[in-house]
């Protein structure tokens, strides 16, 4: 007498397991059972067995996962093949690891088919937006045609992935809806008319441009992305054209004559040379090398170059703008009026000038003569960048924990940014070469201020910054960096 078992399309894994358990506990041999899903007609003489309380069945756990995949295969024989195997495993438990057994090999192959189909579903479903893009939970929908009954076992993957949006995948077989994080299944939904989605155009643009026409491997593409999936993938429409034009495109690339480099190349490379100081001698040679510098026109009018001064193992390097009148005459940094202001504020801030390395962003004095006086001129960007060659060499040799940039020119030379100093002072920025750079005013700014209150305030600010510099250089705890 044959029994007929019907396994529903939704929830098939649990239903098959319960049915198989029941049959096995009654000792029903596989030849006495026919199986079908709810879409299949039953045999004329089949009877539905009364439900019974199944007893405990023991089987290797790898069979459980095998069965949980194979039930979703589209082979009408899947349920009965599984029950046959379950029956045999009761007497031959070692069969589970035997890939040479034909029935087992067949089931493993079916398992592989289902896994592949699930994998392709994860890969090739293409959503279109169906709701308001500005809504707190956006909603998307897709039409997909899987080979096997893989919607239900794959739905949880999409649930895990798209946690913060609503989505639905409609198929000719079982469809799935995810709203507010909960899954719902339904069968036999018609193919919907999904609205156009502007991002499809961008995606196709990406697909067309990421393809390299010089390496055409159509077979490799098609074995991984079979044609049966193409009709629901927006990018697939371009494939025939991409293939047919590829050889000509590759030929054109090979035949094109080399072109002249664009005009900006010279500019870019000059900039790069300025950025990278390749001066590699020992520090004792640096002053002599600075003295012979002719990288910019300033060397022609100044008396001499003024190299940095101080211990070469200092934790703190202080960078000013450029030598002034006095510095140019004496060949030492920070000895003129601004140097005196600096010394005074430094003393109050507890900074000992003999322990720091002190230098300028530009090593030559730039001025215009007016009568018997030389009027200071701010160095331009090109001069700053040329002289960065020396500044970078000094920083590399001293390798301080902190660099203090005094004034806009030093800040520009060290960080590359020309932004307003009063907004940046007191903060640590990252220098072009990665060092920590604390920004503050230049002492000569104080000399130019006529308003007494503002002058007092600026002196106080400079003093705070110098104190911070001493602290940070001693213990670079957690330098504040602006959050970009």
């Amino acid at each position: 007498m044959t029994q007929h078992m019907t396994v529903p399309r939704i929830g098939a894994a649990a239903a098959w397991r319960d049915a198989a358990r029941g049959l096995l506990s009654r000792g029903t041999p596989p030849e006495h059972v026919t199986w079908g899903d709810d879409a299949m007609a039953r045999g004329l003489f089949d009877e539905t067995p009364a439900p019974i309380q199944p007893s405990e069945i023991r089987v290797h756990r790898s069979f459980v996962s095998l069965a949980n995949s194979v039930v979703w295969h589209n082979d009408p024989q899947r349920f009965s093949r599984l029950y046959h195997m379950l029956w045999r495993l009761q007497s031959q438990p070692l069969l589970i690891g035997d890939r040479g057994d034909p029935a087992m090999a067949k089931l493993r192959a079916m398992e592989k088919n289902v896994h592949r189909c699930q994998h392709k579903m994860k890969a090739f479903v293409r959503f279109r937006e169906i709701g308001d893009p500005a809504a707190p939970r956006r909603s998307f929908a897709a039409w997909f045609e899987p080979t096997h009954h893989t919607v239900e076992p794959t739905a949880r993957f999409f649930q895990r992935r798209f946690g913060d949006m609503d989505w639905r995948i409609l198929t000719p077989d079982v469809s799935v809806f995810c709203e507010g994080g909960a899954l719902r299944f339904d069968t036999d939904r018609p193919k919907p008319d999904l609205p156009d989605d502007a991002h499809e155009d961008l995606w196709v643009t990406y697909f067309r441009n990421i393809f390299n026409p010089a390496r055409l491997k159509v077979q490799a593409m098609q074995s991984e992305m079979p044609k049966k999936y193409w009709k629901n993938m927006p990018e697939a429409e371009s494939i025939p054209e991409l293939i047919s034009t590829a050889p000509a495109r590759a030929r054109a690339m090979a035949q094109a004559a080399p072109t002249l480099p664009p005009a900006r190349m010279a500019q870019v490379q000059a900039m790069q040379r300025r950025n990278l100081s390749s001066w590699g001698g020992p520090i004792s040679d640096l002053p002599a090398a600075v003295h012979t510098c002719t990288r910019c026109p300033l060397h022609a009018t100044a008396t001499q170059a003024v190299p940095g001064e101080g211990p070469t193992n200092a934790d703190l390097v202080i960078v000013g703008e450029q030598p002034g009148d006095q510095e140019d005459l004496r060949g030492k940094p920070f000895v003129g009026p601004a140097g005196q202001v600096f010394d005074e504020v430094a003393k109050r801030a507890g900074l000992d000038r003999n322990t720091v390395y002190i230098t300028n962003a530009v090593k030559h004095f730039k001025f215009v003569p007016r009568g018997k006086r030389r009027i200071h001129q701010r160095p331009n960007v090109s001069e700053i960048e040329h002289c960065a060659w020396w500044l970078d060499a000094e920083l590399k040799l001293v390798s301080p924990r902190l660099v203090l940039a005094m004034g806009a020119v030093a800040a520009k030379a060290l960080t590359g940014s020309e932004a307003n100093i009063s907004n940046r002072r007191g903060t640590v920025e990252r220098g072009r070469l990665g060092s920590a750079v604390l920004i503050t005013y230049h002492p000569s700014y104080i000399l130019r201020l006529s308003d007494k209150a503002k002058r007092e305030q600026t002196i106080a600010d400079l003093q705070d910054d110098l104190r911070l510099a001493v602290q940070e250089a001693r213990d670079p705890g957690n330098p504040k960096r602006p959050d970009n």
Binding site: Q159, G163, P262, G434
Partner: protein, 411 residues
């Protein structure tokens, strides 16, 4: 200059990114967004969302932040001396594009690379900012691969490793001499230091603190690199020696071999060739033999006198043909190490043989069902019901596997 539309920027900057072979999205930490507070998941195995007609998988949105570059590497489409159109994405454009593509199930995540603009630090800091926005602002839990810039500041690399799944730095060419010759601004030593730095950071992220707390994971999918094949004169032995050194020294997950491919507006220093795709394929096969099949470097490279792999047959078969004295091997008794050396047997097949032969004798048909490629393997094995007898030592054995000789074209 007229403002480029998002679409034309995407066209330029994906075209510029396609010469990077890597598109892996596997092997990272498991995570999902079931809590409803974020977007994305990663389940260990990668997913290829599409395939281009070049046979390469499209798993990630692989783009350049900008193709402006101040370097002049001869093999590169984006070198400063090239006249290709240039574009630059803003940080927000990349973030939005990634999220919108991800929501439509087009991609597994982002693979971001960039030409060097202004300075290495400035470029790297923009890339880190994109990753930071994706993770912190958009709560993106998909895959991020960042191409790091060798001379960027260590703090930036460290932050990049905490945000991204994978970091990579390209060694570009198999020997230091070639790098200096074709990429004058790059320093091979600096590239190695950067890889060493990533390894050190990754190793130290494994140590628990004294309270037993685990530090945040650093680049959980590891680091990888890429070498261009066929642009310089290096032979396969040099290529493989370089990659074994890289695997051992910096614990790389992958070394990608990229056949030098024609680029638009090529440099006159590097004449274009048709890409050596077969050579690339053989190198990957050899790479696998070295890492998963217990082969030593000189076993593979000694097969031919010129130090290149045999293009007609795969490296395992080439080795077996040279060592016919060891064959045929009995699948019912041979060691695992030896089974792995049989042409046509993969790691999975060997494991299946080992499990099954514990309780029964294996026959020829069993091997077929276990996934062995018996067309290749049958000359080298004996099994129940099968002995190759004279086949193993036959003089024309190689000719059975090599492709048929081709008639040269008259014109």
């Amino acid at each position: 200059m007229a403002q480029l539309s998002l679409k034309s920027k995407l066209a330029i900057l994906s075209d510029a990114a396609k010469y990077d072979a890597s598109c892996a999205s596997s092997g990272s930490s498991r995570r999902d967004s079931r809590d409803g507070k974020g977007l994305g998941s990663n389940e260990g195995s990668g997913i290829c969302h599409a395939y281009a007609p070049d046979g390469r998988c499209i798993s990630l949105l692989k783009i350049l932040m900008t193709n402006f570059c101040i370097y002049d590497c001869s093999y590169c489409v984006n070198r400063v001396s090239s006249n290709v159109p240039r574009a630059r994405f803003s940080v927000d454009e990349i973030v939005r594009l990634t999220i919108d593509f991800y929501r439509r199930n087009y991609i597994e995540g982002l693979f971001l690379s960039s030409g060097i603009i202004r300075s290495p630090d400035a470029t790297m800091s923009d890339m880190v900012q994109i990753a930071r926005k994706l993770r912190r602002q958009e709560n993106f839990r998909g895959y991020i691969h960042l191409k790091t810039i060798p001379d960027a500041a260590p703090e930036l690399i460290e932050e990049a490793g905490l945000l991204a799944d994978r970091l990579s730095i390209n060694v570009e060419l198999p020997t230091d001499t070639s790098v200096t010759r074709f990429a004058p601004e790059k320093s091979p030593q600096q590239i190695r230091q950067a890889m060493a730095n990533v390894r050190v950071l990754k190793d130290s992220a494994k140590d628990r603190s004294h309270t037993g707390k685990r530090p945040p994971r650093f680049a959980p999918a590891g680091q990888s690199t890429q070498m261009i094949i066929g642009a310089d004169g290096s032979n396969d032995t040099m290529v493989l020696r370089q990659s074994t050194r890289l695997y051992a020294s910096y614990r790389l997950k992958r070394v990608y071999y990229s056949a030098f491919s024609p680029i638009p507006d090529s440099s006159d220093k590097l004449p274009l060739i048709s890409p050596p795709l077969l050579r690339e394929h053989r190198l990957y096969q050899a790479d696998w033999l070295l890492r998963f099949y217990g082969f030593a470097l000189d076993e593979i490279t000694s097969a031919t006198p010129d130090g290149n792999l045999d293009l007609q047959i795969d490296p395992k078969l080439a080795w077996a043909l040279q060592h016919r004295g060891l064959f045929p091997m009995d699948v019912n008794t041979a060691d695992k190490d030896m089974l792995l050396r049989i042409p046509g047997f993969g790691v999975k097949t060997v494991n299946r043989i080992l499990t099954t032969r514990r309780h029964r004798h294996l026959r020829y048909e069993d091997l077929l069902r276990m996934g062995a490629l018996m067309k290749k393997a049958r000359a080298f094995v004996t099994a129940g019901g099968w002995s190759p007898s004279k086949l193993t030592d036959s003089a024309d054995l190689r000719a059975r596997f090599a492709p048929p000789p081709e008639q040269l074209s008259l014109l």
